[in-house]
């Protein structure tokens, strides 16, 4: 096919009318040239055979592991950010400050826990 013939096919894109025999032949030529490598159907069926319930379970475990890993990394990043934020706002980096207990007096905590206000 030459440039003009390809251009003609491009012009037909927006037109739903039936193409002429020449264009139809060109389209068929292009359409017929697409395929997968030989044995494609067999490979698909082999993949489906491999998806037995046991293997699906293994796949599920693997994907869960990957999910948990992602959550763990995200959680660790959040803790680091929180620690940095606490350090910047509080000026120190004690465990109490990290838990938000930095300014809480011991007596206040006891009365809070025992209910004796």
């Amino acid at each position: 096919m030459n440039k003009e013939q390809i251009m003609r096919l491009v012009e037909l894109l927006g037109d739903d009318s039936v193409p002429g025999p020449e264009e139809k032949a060109h389209v068929e030529e292009i359409r017929g040239s697409y395929d997968f490598e030989a044995g494609f159907t067999g490979r698909v069926m082999q993949r489906l055979e491999g998806m037995q319930p046991g293997r699906l379970y293994e796949g599920l475990i693997l994907s869960m592991n990957s999910l948990f890993l992602r959550i763990a990394v995200t959680g660790a990043a959040a803790i680091v950010l929180l620690a940095v934020s606490v350090f910047l706002s509080g000026g120190n980096f004690s465990f109490e400050t990290l838990l938000g207990l930095g300014d809480t007096a011991e007596e206040g905590m006891i009365s809070l826990l025992t209910g004796n206000y």
């Binding site: 390809i6 491009v10 739903d16 040239s33 395929d35």
Partner: protein, 184 residues
């Protein structure tokens, strides 16, 4: 039992009852159609085979959801388009492995340097030209040019209004005209 004389509905029904051979017939029947969609949109590369297999694996697992509201090829092509668009997005995000517009343009020029149009593979030239289009434009061109769908059928497969198909086709045509005009 011969399967090639059975209708799509009969094959689906048999496959749902655990008949693997009937599903194999479905794959055989629509293999080339999926190849056109996937390779037309993604290019003829190593990923196309994987996506093609994924399309049929996805189809197999969703056969019970197939209600016959759309024709089976339309249903399969919808899966193919969605998986291919996902792959294009994934590749664009992760690396430059996928041919981008500039690379496609460069390659098209390289191919056309020889000034011998007849020897050139039309499929490859069209493939390179398609690679220069945005994926959403590429999808409508593939449906119309390679699959031979009408604008209404294209809209049905892509799940967009007919008006959107027409406007995308018009934009794609403009771009393809420019690309092919520059072809020496």
């Amino acid at each position: 039992m011969t399967y090639n004389g059975l209708t799509d509905e009969q094959l689906v029904s048999l496959a749902l009852n655990g008949d693997r051979q009937s599903f194999s017939e479905i794959v055989e029947r629509y293999r080339k159609m999926v190849a056109r969609t996937v390779k037309g949109m993604l290019g003829d590369n190593v990923y196309a085979e994987d996506i093609g297999q994924d399309v049929f694996v996805r189809l197999y697992h969703s056969l019970s959801e197939f209600r016959g509201e759309a024709k089976l090829p339309t249903y399969i092509n919808r899966i193919a388009v969605n998986l291919t668009l996902n792959e294009i997005k994934r590749r664009k995000r992760s690396s430059g492995v996928f041919v981008n517009e500039d690379q496609g343009r460069e390659t098209l020029y390289d191919m056309t340097d020889e000034n011998d149009h007849d020897r050139r593979d039309t499929k490859e030239i069209i493939g390179r030209a398609l690679a220069m289009l945005e994926p959403r434009f590429r999808a409508v061109v593939v449906m119309r040019m390679l699959e031979g769908y009408s604008t209404r059928e294209t809209a049905e497969v892509l799940g967009i209004p007919v008006g959107t198909v027409l406007s995308r086709l018009s934009r794609a045509q403009e771009q393809l005209r420019t690309i092919i005009k520059e072809y020496r």
